[in-house]
């Protein structure tokens, strides 16, 4: 702890804008103009007069020179000091305290997402062929979710080829797989030990369960057409392939000695390692 003091008295004066009545007069005048609209025109006229007075008065306040008042100043001793004498530090570098020492890189999740995205097409196509005798059925089902006017359509229409459906489904599928892969990769540093169990089984089951629970609220028509067993199979396929791809990536150091803010690339006072010996510390 320390203190800084400014010793010695001295007198001075400081220019400040002078108090003035004109802003309140102008505001009152303008308010009366509006009030007159709903009461009596005479009130608007009075407001207009006050507005003119207020405007002129205000101008005279600032032109040609702004009116000021001089405020007497007397500077006295000042102590700025902390009531806490001790600065405690948070230790962030205790091994294994917050995260494992090695993990998979986030990019491995994206690679897994791309691979899983291709893999899950296969059970989806098989479902289309078995259930509806058309590979376009699952594609249109997904594409239709993103196209405005595909409501109340027939099963035969969904099973037919539509290039809009193919484009829409491809875009939705690609973006979703990439985003899920990115999310997967972002979660891996937190749960890096069993990527296949996490990505291949746990996440698809949770995701399918969540969708099954809410789909009849979010999109009842879509809900009626989804075969949840097949849906789960395609999700698990995605997860298993994504998990396998991730598991075959080389691990990297988890940078556990660095604070989270540094690892995230976020500037944070007190957390940045600097030019003194005490690194990776936070201060209270």
């Amino acid at each position: 702890m320390s203190e800084q003091e400014n010793h010695g008295h001295h007198s001075d004066s400081i220019h400040l804008p002078a108090p003035t009545t004109w802003p309140v007069v102008l505001a009152f005048g303008l308010a009366l103009i509006f009030l007159g609209i709903v009461t009596n025109p005479a009130i608007s006229i009075l407001g207009g007069v006050l507005t003119v007075f207020g405007t002129v008065g205000w101008f005279r306040d600032v032109l040609p020179h702004e009116r000021h008042v001089d405020v007497e100043v007397e500077v006295m001793d000042l102590n700025i000091r902390s009531t806490r004498e001790r600065v405690a530090r948070m230790e962030l570098d205790k091994p294994g305290r917050y995260a494992p020492t090695e993990t998979y890189p986030i990019v491995s999740g994206i690679k897994g997402g791309i691979a899983g995205g291709f893999a899950m097409i296969i059970p989806a196509m098989i479902y289309g062929l078995i259930a509806q005798h058309s590979i376009w059925y699952p594609i249109n089902l997904m594409g239709g979710a993103g196209i405005a006017n595909w409501t109340d359509t027939s099963t035969a229409n969904i099973a037919a080829f539509h290039w809009q459906g193919l484009i829409a489904a491809s875009v939705i599928h690609a973006i979703t797989c990439l985003l899920v892969g990115l999310l997967y990769g972002a979660m891996l540093p937190m749960l890096p030990r069993h990527p296949i169990v996490l990505g291949g089984i746990l996440a698809p089951v949770l995701w399918t369960g969540l969708l099954h629970a809410v789909m009849n609220i979010v999109n009842p028509v879509f809900d009626q057409r989804i075969q949840w067993g097949w849906f789960l199979i395609s999700q698990v396929t995605f997860g298993l392939v994504a998990g396998w791809v991730v598991a075959h990536q080389s691990r990297i150091s988890a940078n556990r000695n660095l604070p989270l803010a540094v690892r995230m690339g976020i500037e944070s006072p007190g957390l940045m390692q600097h030019d003194h010996d005490e690194k990776s510390e936070d201060r209270h």
Partner: protein, 567 residues
């Protein structure tokens, strides 16, 4: 990054003074006159906050009357006409006459002090803005006695705070009650815009030496973001109100569907203002949290740049979500999908903020003084409000619950659970600076816990009648629909909240006269306002402060370990 050298210690010390107030207090009239003609940002800030607190009490009384009316089925405590006026005036009051003035008051008082300036950039405009806001509010309440309405007697606006067309047309709203709503909000809107211009100019042009934008206190950053949102959001409302006046006075047909106008257009104009307005109100709550949480956690704010980016991100996204208030009007699927997704996206920067506040608290030596209690409740309640907001952003869910008490509970969770709690915490935090006295901690904690209990009794249970189908704004309801007990609990909770607010107001009054002397820096804080006396002198700082980090007072208190080494 920081400068490589600190300014000379004497320079910093000279920037901060304790000027004794030698002048004897004047007579009541002299004092009153000095407040009316003042251009001092601190006095104007205090007037804004007091004005807001008065209207908090007025709007609160209206809310209590509404809750008495709904406390039991088939009740006739209020007449249907008065009930309509009360819910209209309650909403309008709390948004325009309580929330907005309160946040502008906070910005007015604190921003110049935090950036080391002597006043706002335009002191006279500042006074003008306050008086426009004040006269707008007075004009609105004058409608209770001056608005010749349906019965040619005084009556207040009764068209809801969003005043949907065609209810506002002359045919359905004869007399002048709706006109009072329009012109008074026009007048107060001028004041709000003036205040926003002033805050932006002050922050951009009047920062003290060394205070770069990345060293700006987050409160000041969020004040800029809020002011920018005000400049973008208020003009559409003003334009719509002018169009409404043209419809009502000059025979225009902007919102008259039978004559080729569009009632839907009013909704678009209103919500292009209305949704950013929610963020205009909640940003200052974030701003208060950004200052209070680090000080009471004894740690610097976590992720300062991310907090700035998230604030700007929220403001940006908030401009593109307005039609989520309009899912039930029958938009296209593309429109529904766009506004559902854009609404959900708000959750990302908001989540960043919540995580950063938690990360700030994590590992800190937290002191649960009254301001921090309010902030902790704010964090939890704002999270809950955000979650129900995400639920309502799903269009099919919204179709089921639109205009129900679930929506009312959701937005009161935001407006009371987040904003009011944070602003009350802010008042507790800066009260010693403004008055030189500490608030009574015991009374403060009693008030806090009463408010928590009352709030959760009211707004947790308000979700349930909403889910059971109770529409908002209904005058009364039949017994036996499953709403009775819930409404009774909600009404009791409202009275508990009222007791808490009264206790808070009592604490403000009593502590002003009998409170412990606060000193300059009672919380051991780090921003510049704590470096001057309490209350600060008219000129704030005798010499321009020089700062070298985001926590200038930390640097002064710990010269052996200053922040500028790390930033």
């Amino acid at each position: 990054m920081a400068d490589s050298a600190l300014p000379a210690p004497g320079t910093i010390g000279g920037a901060i003074d304790v000027t004794p107030h030698h002048k004897a207090p004047g007579t009541f009239l002299e004092t009153l006159h000095s407040w009316v003609v003042t251009v001092d940002h601190k006095k104007l800030g205090i007037m804004y906050v007091l004005y807001a607190l008065v209207f908090l009490l007025v709007g609160g009384v209206e809310a209590l009357c509404i809750r008495i009316q709904l406390g039991r089925p088939e009740n006739h405590f209020l007449s249907p006409e008065v009930y309509n006026r009360f819910f209209t005036m309650h909403g309008t009051t709390m948004v325009f006459l309580m929330g907005m003035p309160m946040l502008v008051g906070f910005m007015n008082y604190l921003v110049p002090l935090m950036i080391g300036a002597r006043d706002m950039a335009f002191p006279r405009l500042n006074a003008f803005s306050f008086w426009m806001t004040a006269f707008g509010g007075l004009m609105l309440y004058y409608s209770f006695i001056g608005g010749s309405g349906l019965y040619a007697a005084g009556n207040a606006p009764d068209v809801g705070w969003f005043a949907y067309a065609p209810l506002t047309a002359r045919a359905f709203s004869p007399g002048h009650s709706t006109d009072y709503w329009t012109v008074s909000l026009l007048v107060s809107g001028v004041g709000t815009i003036g205040a926003a211009v002033n805050v932006i100019a002050t922050v951009f042009c009047m920062r003290c030496k060394g205070m770069t934008m990345m060293r700006l206190p987050l409160f000041a950053w969020l004040s800029v973001v809020t002011s920018a949102l005000i400049l973008m959001a208020i003009p559409p409302l003003t334009a719509a109100q002018v169009m409404l006046m043209i419809d009502r006075y000059l025979g225009g047909h902007f919102f008259d569907t039978l004559a080729g106008g569009s009632a839907l257009m009013w909704m678009h104009f209103f919500w292009i203002f209305g949704h950013p307005e929610v963020y205009i109100l909640v940003m200052p709550a974030f701003a208060v949290a950004n200052e209070v949480i680090p000080v009471f956690s004894r740690k610097p704010i976590f992720g300062y740049p991310a907090m700035v980016a998230a604030s700007v991100g929220i403001a940006f996204v908030s401009l593109g979500v307005w039609a989520h208030h309009m899912f039930t009007v029958g938009m296209t699927s593309v429109g529904n999908a766009f506004f559902a997704l854009s609404t959900m996206i708000v959750g990302i920067p908001t989540g960043i903020k919540i995580f950063n506040w938690l990360a700030t608290m994590w590992g800190g030596k937290i002191r649960f003084a009254t301001p921090m209690l309010y902030m902790t409740a704010f964090l939890f309640q704002f999270l809950m409000a955000g979650l129900t907001g995400i639920m309502l952003s799903v269009a099919p869910w919204n179709w089921q619950l639109h205009n129900s008490y679930f929506v009312v509970a959701h937005f009161h969770y935001v407006l009371v659970g987040a904003i009011l709690f944070a602003l009350m915490g802010g008042i507790c935090y800066w009260y010693p600076k403004v008055t030189g006295r500490m608030l009574d901690e015991k009374l403060g904690k009693w008030g806090f816990w009463l408010l928590v209990i009352g709030f959760h009794m009211t707004f947790d249970f308000m979700h349930i009648p909403g889910l059971l189908g109770m529409p908002r704004q209904i005058y009364t309801y039949e017994a036996g629909r499953g709403w009775d007990t819930w409404n009774l609990i909600v009404s009791i909770g409202a009275f508990v909240q009222a007791a808490a607010v009264l206790l808070f107001a009592y604490n403000l009054l009593v502590s002003y006269f009998r409170g412990e002397v606060a000193g300059n820096d009672p919380w051991d804080a780090w921003t510049l306002e704590w470096a001057t006396s309490s209350p600060p002198p008219e000129y704030n700082f005798v010499a321009d402060p020089v700062v070298t980090s985001r926590r200038p007072l930390w640097d002064m208190k710990h010269p052996e370990d200053p922040d500028w080494k790390y930033e």
